[in-house]
Protein backbone atom coordinates (compact mmCIF):
# COMPACT_ATOMS: atom_id res chain seq x y z
CA UNK A 1 0.00 0.00 0.00
CA UNK A 2 1.61 3.32 -0.99
CA UNK A 3 1.82 6.03 1.66
CA UNK A 4 -1.05 8.48 1.38
CA UNK A 5 1.15 11.35 2.42
CA UNK A 6 4.80 12.23 2.91
CA UNK A 7 6.70 10.45 5.64
CA UNK A 8 6.86 12.44 8.85
CA UNK A 9 10.07 12.90 10.85
CA UNK A 10 8.60 10.85 13.72
CA UNK A 11 7.95 7.96 11.35
CA UNK A 12 11.58 8.02 10.24
CA UNK A 13 12.70 7.86 13.86
CA UNK A 14 10.34 4.98 14.61
CA UNK A 15 11.88 3.04 11.69
CA UNK A 16 15.39 3.80 12.98
CA UNK A 17 14.50 2.43 16.41
CA UNK A 18 12.71 -0.59 14.89
CA UNK A 19 15.95 -1.59 13.15
CA UNK A 20 18.01 -1.08 16.31
CA UNK A 21 15.80 -3.44 18.33
CA UNK A 22 15.80 -6.22 15.72
CA UNK A 23 16.03 -9.67 17.29
CA UNK A 24 15.31 -8.50 20.84
CA UNK A 25 13.16 -10.73 23.07
CA UNK A 26 12.11 -8.11 25.62
CA UNK A 27 12.09 -4.35 25.11
CA UNK A 28 11.29 -2.18 28.12
CA UNK A 29 10.20 1.42 27.55
CA UNK A 30 10.17 4.14 30.22
CA UNK A 31 7.50 6.81 30.63
CA UNK A 32 6.86 9.44 27.93
CA UNK A 33 8.50 7.52 25.11
CA UNK A 34 5.99 7.28 22.25
CA UNK A 35 8.61 6.72 19.53
CA UNK A 36 10.31 3.74 21.24
CA UNK A 37 6.87 2.34 22.14
CA UNK A 38 5.71 2.62 18.51
CA UNK A 39 8.90 0.93 17.29
CA UNK A 40 8.37 -1.92 19.76
CA UNK A 41 4.74 -2.46 18.70
CA UNK A 42 5.75 -2.35 15.05
CA UNK A 43 8.49 -4.94 15.51
CA UNK A 44 6.05 -7.10 17.44
CA UNK A 45 3.42 -7.01 14.68
CA UNK A 46 5.96 -7.68 11.93
CA UNK A 47 7.39 -10.73 13.68
CA UNK A 48 4.14 -12.12 15.03
CA UNK A 49 4.80 -11.64 18.72
CA UNK A 50 8.38 -10.78 19.65
CA UNK A 51 9.69 -8.76 21.27
CA UNK A 52 7.69 -8.52 24.44
CA UNK A 53 7.23 -4.76 24.91
CA UNK A 54 6.86 -3.54 28.50
CA UNK A 55 5.66 0.03 28.91
CA UNK A 56 6.44 1.06 32.46
CA UNK A 57 3.50 3.45 32.89
CA UNK A 58 0.72 1.34 31.38
CA UNK A 59 -0.62 -1.66 33.35
CA UNK A 60 -2.29 -2.89 30.12
CA UNK A 61 1.09 -2.93 28.41
CA UNK A 62 3.31 -4.71 30.90
CA UNK A 63 3.23 -7.95 32.82
CA UNK A 64 4.89 -6.78 36.03
CA UNK A 65 3.40 -8.04 39.29
CA UNK A 66 6.30 -7.49 41.69
CA UNK A 67 6.43 -3.71 41.98
CA UNK A 68 8.82 -1.15 40.56
CA UNK A 69 11.79 -3.29 41.45
CA UNK A 70 10.85 -6.10 39.06
CA UNK A 71 12.18 -4.27 35.98
CA UNK A 72 15.56 -3.88 37.68
CA UNK A 73 15.62 -7.44 38.95
CA UNK A 74 14.77 -8.71 35.46
CA UNK A 75 17.48 -6.49 33.94
CA UNK A 76 20.01 -7.75 36.48
CA UNK A 77 19.33 -11.29 35.34
CA UNK A 78 19.65 -10.41 31.66
CA UNK A 79 15.94 -10.70 30.89
CA UNK A 80 15.69 -7.21 29.37
CA UNK A 81 17.42 -6.74 26.00
CA UNK A 82 16.67 -3.11 25.19
CA UNK A 83 16.03 0.06 27.18
CA UNK A 84 15.98 3.74 26.25
CA UNK A 85 17.52 6.76 27.92
CA UNK A 86 17.84 10.41 27.22
CA UNK A 87 20.07 12.93 28.90
CA UNK A 88 19.97 16.61 29.69
CA UNK A 89 23.52 16.28 28.36
CA UNK A 90 25.07 13.41 26.41
CA UNK A 91 28.79 13.53 25.70
CA UNK A 92 31.08 12.10 23.06
CA UNK A 93 32.12 9.21 25.31
CA UNK A 94 28.52 8.07 25.79
CA UNK A 95 28.24 9.48 29.33
CA UNK A 96 24.78 10.80 30.21
CA UNK A 97 23.79 13.53 32.68
CA UNK A 98 20.32 13.57 34.21
CA UNK A 99 21.29 15.49 37.36
CA UNK A 100 22.63 19.02 37.04
CA UNK A 101 24.48 21.63 35.01
CA UNK A 102 27.33 23.41 36.74
CA UNK A 103 28.68 22.77 40.22
CA UNK A 104 26.89 19.82 41.79
CA UNK A 105 26.49 21.43 45.22
CA UNK A 106 25.11 24.70 43.84
CA UNK A 107 24.00 23.86 40.30
CA UNK A 108 23.01 26.37 37.65
CA UNK A 109 20.23 24.02 36.55
CA UNK A 110 18.94 21.02 38.47
CA UNK A 111 17.13 18.19 36.67
CA UNK A 112 15.00 15.41 38.15
CA UNK A 113 17.75 12.88 38.80
CA UNK A 114 19.41 9.74 37.49
CA UNK A 115 16.38 7.38 37.68
CA UNK A 116 17.59 3.82 36.92
CA UNK A 117 20.33 4.87 34.50
CA UNK A 118 23.37 4.13 36.68
CA UNK A 119 22.24 0.50 36.83
CA UNK A 120 20.38 -0.23 33.57
CA UNK A 121 23.29 1.26 31.58
CA UNK A 122 25.35 -1.71 32.79
CA UNK A 123 22.81 -4.50 32.86
CA UNK A 124 20.84 -4.04 29.61
CA UNK A 125 22.75 -5.15 26.48
CA UNK A 126 21.30 -2.55 24.12
CA UNK A 127 20.73 0.95 25.47
CA UNK A 128 19.38 3.31 22.84
CA UNK A 129 19.97 6.99 23.58
CA UNK A 130 17.29 9.30 22.34
CA UNK A 131 17.49 13.09 22.27
CA UNK A 132 14.79 15.25 20.71
CA UNK A 133 17.00 18.36 20.82
CA UNK A 134 20.13 18.02 18.68
CA UNK A 135 22.26 20.99 19.70
CA UNK A 136 25.65 21.91 21.13
CA UNK A 137 23.86 22.56 24.41
CA UNK A 138 22.71 18.93 24.72
CA UNK A 139 25.38 16.97 22.81
CA UNK A 140 28.52 18.13 24.59
CA UNK A 141 32.23 17.33 24.76
CA UNK A 142 31.99 16.40 28.44
CA UNK A 143 28.93 16.19 30.70
CA UNK A 144 28.81 18.24 33.93
CA UNK A 145 27.74 15.18 35.90
CA UNK A 146 27.97 11.50 34.98
CA UNK A 147 24.68 9.81 35.89
CA UNK A 148 25.85 6.74 34.00
CA UNK A 149 29.22 6.21 32.26
CA UNK A 150 29.35 5.24 28.58
CA UNK A 151 32.07 2.66 29.07
CA UNK A 152 33.87 0.95 31.96
CA UNK A 153 37.49 -0.09 32.49
CA UNK A 154 38.39 -3.80 32.19
CA UNK A 155 37.56 -5.74 35.34
CA UNK A 156 34.31 -3.89 36.02
CA UNK A 157 31.31 -6.15 35.40
CA UNK A 158 29.24 -4.86 32.53
CA UNK A 159 26.79 -6.63 30.24
CA UNK A 160 25.52 -3.67 28.25
CA UNK A 161 25.68 0.00 27.46
CA UNK A 162 24.84 2.51 24.77
CA UNK A 163 24.73 1.18 21.21
CA UNK A 164 23.31 4.21 19.40
CA UNK A 165 22.17 7.81 19.73
CA UNK A 166 19.07 8.81 17.80
CA UNK A 167 18.30 12.50 17.21
CA UNK A 168 15.99 14.43 14.87
CA UNK A 169 18.97 14.90 12.51
CA UNK A 170 20.78 11.58 12.44
CA UNK A 171 21.70 8.20 13.83
CA UNK A 172 25.04 7.80 15.61
CA UNK A 173 26.40 4.32 16.32
CA UNK A 174 28.56 3.88 19.43
CA UNK A 175 31.94 2.16 19.37
CA UNK A 176 32.49 0.97 22.92
CA UNK A 177 36.13 -0.04 22.34
CA UNK A 178 36.97 3.54 21.42
CA UNK A 179 34.25 5.17 23.55
CA UNK A 180 33.25 7.27 20.59
CA UNK A 181 30.24 7.91 18.36
CA UNK A 182 30.23 7.36 14.59
CA UNK A 183 27.80 9.00 12.19
CA UNK A 184 25.84 6.08 10.75
CA UNK A 185 23.16 7.88 8.74
CA UNK A 186 21.60 11.30 8.22
CA UNK A 187 17.81 11.64 8.09
CA UNK A 188 16.17 12.87 4.87
CA UNK A 189 16.15 16.66 4.65
CA UNK A 190 19.28 17.07 6.79
CA UNK A 191 22.99 17.18 6.02
CA UNK A 192 26.35 16.13 7.47
CA UNK A 193 27.22 19.83 7.83
CA UNK A 194 24.09 20.43 9.85
CA UNK A 195 24.97 17.49 12.11
CA UNK A 196 28.54 18.77 12.56
CA UNK A 197 27.43 22.35 13.25
CA UNK A 198 25.01 21.25 15.95
CA UNK A 199 27.08 18.58 17.71
CA UNK A 200 29.35 19.61 20.56
CA UNK A 201 31.44 16.43 20.59
CA UNK A 202 33.88 15.00 18.04
CA UNK A 203 32.70 11.87 16.25
CA UNK A 204 33.90 9.51 13.53
CA UNK A 205 32.80 10.41 10.05
CA UNK A 206 32.95 7.52 7.56
CA UNK A 207 33.68 8.44 3.93
CA UNK A 208 30.20 7.41 2.92
CA UNK A 209 27.32 8.34 5.18
CA UNK A 210 24.03 7.04 3.82
CA UNK A 211 20.66 8.67 4.16
CA UNK A 212 18.61 7.05 6.93
CA UNK A 213 16.55 4.17 5.53
CA UNK A 214 12.82 4.85 5.32
CA UNK A 215 10.13 2.33 6.24
CA UNK A 216 8.87 0.42 3.21
CA UNK A 217 5.21 0.92 2.24
CA UNK A 218 3.97 -2.23 4.00
CA UNK A 219 5.71 -1.29 7.25
CA UNK A 220 4.42 2.26 6.96
CA UNK A 221 0.86 1.06 6.45
CA UNK A 222 1.10 -1.14 9.55
CA UNK A 223 2.52 1.77 11.50
CA UNK A 224 -0.24 4.16 10.44
CA UNK A 225 -3.04 1.70 11.16
CA UNK A 226 -2.57 -1.00 13.84
CA UNK A 227 0.33 0.67 15.67
CA UNK A 228 -1.31 4.10 15.57
CA UNK A 229 -4.50 2.64 17.08
CA UNK A 230 -2.61 0.99 19.95
CA UNK A 231 -0.47 4.06 20.53
CA UNK A 232 -3.54 6.30 20.74
CA UNK A 233 -4.59 4.48 23.93
CA UNK A 234 -1.38 5.48 25.69
CA UNK A 235 -0.18 8.60 23.89
CA UNK A 236 -3.34 10.26 22.53
CA UNK A 237 -1.62 13.57 21.80
CA UNK A 238 1.25 11.97 19.94
CA UNK A 239 -1.08 9.69 17.95
CA UNK A 240 -3.27 12.65 17.03
CA UNK A 241 -0.35 14.81 15.90
CA UNK A 242 1.59 12.18 13.98
CA UNK A 243 -1.09 9.81 12.70
CA UNK A 244 -4.18 12.03 12.77
CA UNK A 245 -5.92 9.70 15.22
CA UNK A 246 -8.99 11.12 16.89
CA UNK A 247 -8.48 12.00 20.54
Amino acid sequence: MPPERDIRAEEVLIEVVRRLIAGARHVAVGANSPIPAAAGFLAQLLSGGTPLVSLQQSPEHNLWTDGGRELFDAAGQGRIDVFFFSGAEIDGAGNINLVAIGDYARPKVRFAGSYGSAYLYFTVPRIILFRTEHSRRTLVEKVSFISAPGTSPPGVWRRGGPIALVTPLCLFGFDKERARFRLDSVHPGHSIEEVRDNTGFAFDLPEQVPATALPDPAVLALLRQEVARELAKIYPNFAATVFGMER
Binding site: A31, N32, Q57, P59, W64, T65, D66, G67, G68, R69, E70, F72, G76, L98, V99, A100, Y104, A105, R106, P107, K108, V109, R110, F111, A112, G113, S114, Y115, G116, S117, A118, Y119, L120, Y121, F122, T123, F145, I146, S147, A148, P149, S152, P153, G155, V156, W157, R158
Partner: protein
Protein backbone atom coordinates in the same frame (compact mmCIF):
# COMPACT_ATOMS: atom_id res chain seq x y z
CA UNK B 1 -3.21 -12.27 66.38
CA UNK B 2 -5.11 -9.14 65.48
CA UNK B 3 -3.85 -7.35 68.59
CA UNK B 4 -4.98 -3.76 68.76
CA UNK B 5 -7.80 -4.23 66.25
CA UNK B 6 -9.97 -1.13 66.02
CA UNK B 7 -7.29 0.90 67.81
CA UNK B 8 -5.34 1.10 64.54
CA UNK B 9 -8.23 2.66 62.65
CA UNK B 10 -8.13 6.34 63.52
CA UNK B 11 -8.76 9.80 62.09
CA UNK B 12 -6.17 11.30 59.75
CA UNK B 13 -4.52 13.70 62.22
CA UNK B 14 -3.90 11.13 64.99
CA UNK B 15 -2.60 8.69 62.37
CA UNK B 16 -0.07 11.29 61.28
CA UNK B 17 1.13 11.78 64.87
CA UNK B 18 3.42 8.81 64.20
CA UNK B 19 5.33 11.07 61.77
CA UNK B 20 7.38 13.31 64.03
CA UNK B 21 9.52 16.29 63.09
CA UNK B 22 12.91 15.05 61.90
CA UNK B 23 11.64 11.57 61.00
CA UNK B 24 13.03 9.54 58.14
CA UNK B 25 9.87 9.23 56.06
CA UNK B 26 9.63 6.82 53.11
CA UNK B 27 7.02 7.32 50.40
CA UNK B 28 6.16 5.39 47.24
CA UNK B 29 6.33 6.53 43.60
CA UNK B 30 3.32 7.94 41.75
CA UNK B 31 2.23 4.53 40.45
CA UNK B 32 2.05 2.90 43.86
CA UNK B 33 -0.34 5.07 45.89
CA UNK B 34 0.80 8.48 47.13
CA UNK B 35 -0.85 9.67 50.35
CA UNK B 36 -1.59 13.20 49.17
CA UNK B 37 -4.42 14.04 51.61
CA UNK B 38 -2.06 13.01 54.41
CA UNK B 39 0.73 15.09 52.88
CA UNK B 40 -1.48 18.20 52.87
CA UNK B 41 -2.42 17.49 56.50
CA UNK B 42 1.27 17.20 57.44
CA UNK B 43 1.95 20.57 55.82
CA UNK B 44 -1.00 22.13 57.68
CA UNK B 45 0.47 20.75 60.90
CA UNK B 46 3.79 22.38 60.04
CA UNK B 47 5.96 19.27 60.00
CA UNK B 48 9.70 20.09 59.84
CA UNK B 49 13.09 18.53 59.28
CA UNK B 50 12.00 15.40 57.43
CA UNK B 51 14.50 13.05 55.83
CA UNK B 52 12.34 12.14 52.84
CA UNK B 53 13.13 8.88 51.02
CA UNK B 54 11.30 8.52 47.70
CA UNK B 55 10.85 4.92 46.58
CA UNK B 56 12.36 5.37 44.16
CA UNK B 57 11.17 8.64 42.51
CA UNK B 58 8.57 11.32 43.28
CA UNK B 59 6.74 14.33 41.87
CA UNK B 60 4.11 16.55 43.54
CA UNK B 61 4.37 15.12 47.05
CA UNK B 62 8.10 15.78 47.35
CA UNK B 63 7.85 19.16 45.62
CA UNK B 64 5.07 20.30 47.97
CA UNK B 65 6.87 19.15 51.12
CA UNK B 66 10.11 20.81 50.01
CA UNK B 67 8.35 24.03 49.00
CA UNK B 68 6.59 24.12 52.37
CA UNK B 69 9.95 23.89 54.15
CA UNK B 70 9.23 20.47 55.64
CA UNK B 71 12.27 18.65 54.27
CA UNK B 72 15.87 18.83 55.52
CA UNK B 73 17.22 15.94 53.45
CA UNK B 74 15.86 14.24 50.36
CA UNK B 75 17.12 10.85 49.24
CA UNK B 76 15.82 10.17 45.74
CA UNK B 77 16.45 8.81 42.27
CA UNK B 78 14.47 11.64 40.71
CA UNK B 79 11.93 14.34 41.49
CA UNK B 80 10.12 15.42 38.34
CA UNK B 81 6.78 15.59 36.56
CA UNK B 82 7.71 13.59 33.47
CA UNK B 83 6.52 15.21 30.27
CA UNK B 84 4.85 18.03 32.25
CA UNK B 85 8.24 19.35 33.29
CA UNK B 86 10.72 19.81 36.10
CA UNK B 87 9.82 19.94 39.80
CA UNK B 88 10.00 23.70 40.49
CA UNK B 89 10.36 23.84 44.29
CA UNK B 90 12.76 20.88 44.36
CA UNK B 91 14.97 22.45 41.69
CA UNK B 92 14.90 25.85 43.40
CA UNK B 93 15.74 24.36 46.81
CA UNK B 94 18.66 22.32 45.45
CA UNK B 95 20.01 25.36 43.60
CA UNK B 96 19.70 27.51 46.74
CA UNK B 97 21.18 24.79 48.95
CA UNK B 98 18.19 24.87 51.31
CA UNK B 99 17.64 21.12 51.06
CA UNK B 100 20.39 18.50 51.30
CA UNK B 101 20.20 15.94 48.52
CA UNK B 102 21.32 12.35 48.47
CA UNK B 103 21.17 11.44 44.79
CA UNK B 104 20.49 7.76 44.17
CA UNK B 105 19.45 5.47 41.36
CA UNK B 106 16.13 3.57 41.42
CA UNK B 107 17.36 0.01 42.06
CA UNK B 108 19.74 1.26 44.78
CA UNK B 109 16.77 2.47 46.83
CA UNK B 110 14.85 -0.76 46.25
CA UNK B 111 17.94 -2.81 47.18
CA UNK B 112 18.75 -0.81 50.33
CA UNK B 113 15.16 -1.24 51.53
CA UNK B 114 15.32 -4.93 50.80
CA UNK B 115 18.47 -5.17 52.94
CA UNK B 116 16.53 -3.55 55.75
CA UNK B 117 13.58 -5.86 55.21
CA UNK B 118 15.94 -8.83 55.66
CA UNK B 119 17.67 -7.30 58.66
CA UNK B 120 20.95 -7.08 56.73
CA UNK B 121 23.41 -4.20 57.18
CA UNK B 122 23.86 -3.60 53.45
CA UNK B 123 22.92 -4.66 49.95
CA UNK B 124 25.17 -5.01 46.90
CA UNK B 125 24.24 -3.80 43.44
CA UNK B 126 25.74 -4.03 39.95
CA UNK B 127 26.50 -0.93 37.93
CA UNK B 128 27.04 2.59 39.40
CA UNK B 129 30.88 2.29 39.26
CA UNK B 130 32.22 5.20 37.21
CA UNK B 131 29.14 7.32 37.89
CA UNK B 132 29.48 10.66 39.70
CA UNK B 133 26.76 9.40 42.05
CA UNK B 134 29.49 7.46 43.87
CA UNK B 135 31.54 10.58 44.43
CA UNK B 136 28.50 12.30 45.99
CA UNK B 137 27.54 9.34 48.14
CA UNK B 138 30.38 8.68 50.61
CA UNK B 139 28.04 6.22 52.34
CA UNK B 140 28.16 3.99 49.22
CA UNK B 141 31.31 1.85 49.12
CA UNK B 142 32.99 -0.11 46.37
CA UNK B 143 34.02 -3.47 47.81
CA UNK B 144 35.59 -6.58 46.32
CA UNK B 145 33.24 -9.40 45.47
CA UNK B 146 34.45 -12.03 47.98
CA UNK B 147 33.79 -14.74 45.38
CA UNK B 148 35.50 -15.27 42.02
CA UNK B 149 36.08 -13.24 39.88
CA UNK B 150 36.59 -10.88 42.87
CA UNK B 151 35.42 -7.91 40.84
CA UNK B 152 34.45 -4.57 42.37
CA UNK B 153 30.81 -4.13 43.38
CA UNK B 154 28.92 -1.33 45.15
CA UNK B 155 27.71 -1.86 48.74
CA UNK B 156 24.74 0.23 49.88
CA UNK B 157 23.84 0.66 53.54
CA UNK B 158 20.35 -0.56 54.45
CA UNK B 159 17.70 2.17 54.54
CA UNK B 160 15.64 1.85 57.72
CA UNK B 161 12.91 4.55 57.61
CA UNK B 162 11.19 5.58 60.82
CA UNK B 163 7.84 5.65 59.05
CA UNK B 164 6.44 4.64 55.68
CA UNK B 165 3.42 6.64 54.47
CA UNK B 166 1.23 5.47 51.58
CA UNK B 167 -2.33 5.39 50.24
CA UNK B 168 -4.11 2.11 49.37
CA UNK B 169 -7.51 1.03 48.07
CA UNK B 170 -8.76 -0.62 51.27
CA UNK B 171 -8.16 -1.84 54.80
CA UNK B 172 -10.14 -3.91 57.25
CA UNK B 173 -10.98 -2.85 60.81
CA UNK B 174 -8.10 -4.96 62.13
CA UNK B 175 -5.62 -2.74 60.30
CA UNK B 176 -4.73 -5.16 57.47
CA UNK B 177 -4.16 -3.13 54.30
CA UNK B 178 -4.90 -4.42 50.80
CA UNK B 179 -2.47 -2.98 48.22
CA UNK B 180 -3.09 -5.16 45.15
CA UNK B 181 -0.14 -5.52 42.82
CA UNK B 182 1.70 -2.54 44.29
CA UNK B 183 4.37 -4.77 45.82
CA UNK B 184 6.70 -1.83 46.51
CA UNK B 185 4.44 -1.11 49.47
CA UNK B 186 5.28 -4.48 51.02
CA UNK B 187 8.99 -3.72 50.88
CA UNK B 188 8.29 -0.25 52.25
CA UNK B 189 6.25 -1.58 55.17
CA UNK B 190 8.66 -4.41 55.96
CA UNK B 191 11.70 -2.13 55.84
CA UNK B 192 10.28 0.73 57.91
CA UNK B 193 9.99 0.73 61.70
CA UNK B 194 6.30 1.50 61.29
CA UNK B 195 3.80 2.35 58.58
CA UNK B 196 0.89 4.76 58.31
CA UNK B 197 -1.67 4.07 55.59
CA UNK B 198 -4.61 6.05 54.32
CA UNK B 199 -7.27 4.13 52.40
CA UNK B 200 -10.16 4.74 50.05
CA UNK B 201 -12.61 2.46 51.84
CA UNK B 202 -13.10 -0.14 54.55
CA UNK B 203 -13.45 -3.86 53.96
CA UNK B 204 -16.01 -5.70 56.03
CA UNK B 205 -14.31 -8.71 57.55
CA UNK B 206 -10.73 -9.93 57.77
CA UNK B 207 -8.68 -9.51 54.55
CA UNK B 208 -6.30 -12.26 55.61
CA UNK B 209 -9.07 -14.87 55.64
CA UNK B 210 -9.80 -14.46 51.93
CA UNK B 211 -7.28 -16.47 49.90
CA UNK B 212 -7.43 -14.20 46.84
CA UNK B 213 -7.03 -11.01 48.88
CA UNK B 214 -4.56 -12.17 51.52
CA UNK B 215 -1.50 -12.37 49.26
CA UNK B 216 -1.96 -8.72 48.31
CA UNK B 217 -2.52 -7.61 51.91
CA UNK B 218 0.02 -6.09 54.30
CA UNK B 219 -0.68 -7.61 57.73
CA UNK B 220 -1.69 -5.25 60.52
CA UNK B 221 1.40 -5.87 62.62
CA UNK B 222 3.44 -3.66 60.28
CA UNK B 223 0.82 -0.91 60.37
CA UNK B 224 0.82 1.68 63.17
CA UNK B 225 -2.33 3.46 61.98
CA UNK B 226 -4.90 3.45 59.20
CA UNK B 227 -7.10 6.42 58.36
CA UNK B 228 -9.96 6.61 55.93
CA UNK B 229 -9.27 9.21 53.21
CA UNK B 230 -11.51 8.91 50.15
CA UNK B 231 -9.71 10.18 47.03
CA UNK B 232 -6.68 10.40 49.29
CA UNK B 233 -4.20 10.13 46.43
CA UNK B 234 -5.70 13.06 44.49
CA UNK B 235 -4.41 14.63 42.28
CA UNK B 236 -2.22 11.58 41.77
CA UNK B 237 -3.74 8.38 40.44
CA UNK B 238 -4.69 5.31 42.41
CA UNK B 239 -4.42 2.04 40.52
CA UNK B 240 -7.68 1.35 38.76
CA UNK B 241 -9.68 3.55 41.18
CA UNK B 242 -9.01 6.91 39.53
CA UNK B 243 -6.57 8.50 37.07
CA UNK B 244 -4.11 11.31 37.64
CA UNK B 245 -5.65 14.81 37.53
CA UNK B 246 -3.25 16.13 34.93
CA UNK B 247 -5.00 19.49 34.62
CA UNK B 248 -4.42 20.07 38.33
CA UNK B 249 -0.75 19.15 38.02
CA UNK B 250 -0.41 21.69 35.21
CA UNK B 251 -2.06 24.31 37.42
CA UNK B 252 0.36 23.42 40.21
CA UNK B 253 3.39 23.71 37.93
CA UNK B 254 2.23 27.07 36.60
CA UNK B 255 1.77 28.44 40.13
CA UNK B 256 4.82 26.81 41.73
CA UNK B 257 7.13 28.32 39.12
CA UNK B 258 7.48 31.20 41.61
CA UNK B 259 7.67 31.29 45.40
CA UNK B 260 4.64 33.62 45.55
CA UNK B 261 2.65 31.39 43.23
CA UNK B 262 3.51 28.39 45.37
CA UNK B 263 2.20 30.23 48.47
CA UNK B 264 -1.04 30.90 46.60
CA UNK B 265 -1.29 27.19 45.77
CA UNK B 266 -0.83 26.31 49.45
CA UNK B 267 -3.50 28.83 50.47
CA UNK B 268 -5.95 27.52 47.92
CA UNK B 269 -5.41 23.74 48.08
CA UNK B 270 -3.59 22.88 51.29
CA UNK B 271 -4.49 25.29 54.08
CA UNK B 272 -8.20 25.52 53.20
CA UNK B 273 -8.73 21.74 53.53
CA UNK B 274 -11.05 21.88 50.53
CA UNK B 275 -8.91 19.31 48.78
CA UNK B 276 -8.40 17.05 51.78
Amino acid sequence: MSGAGDARLVELEPALAFIEDGAMLAVPADYAGVAMAATRALIRRGVRGLHLVTVPAASLQADLLIGAGAVAVIETSAVGFGELGAAPRFSAAVRAGTVAIKDATCPAIHAALRASEMGNPFAVLRGIIGSDLLAQRPDWKVIDNPFPPHDPIVALPAIRPDVALFHAPMADRLGNVWVGRRRDLFTLAHASAKSVATVERLYDGNLLLDETLAAATIPAFYIAAVALAPRGAWPMRLGSDYPEDTAHLREYLALAASEEGFRRYLDQYVHTRRAA
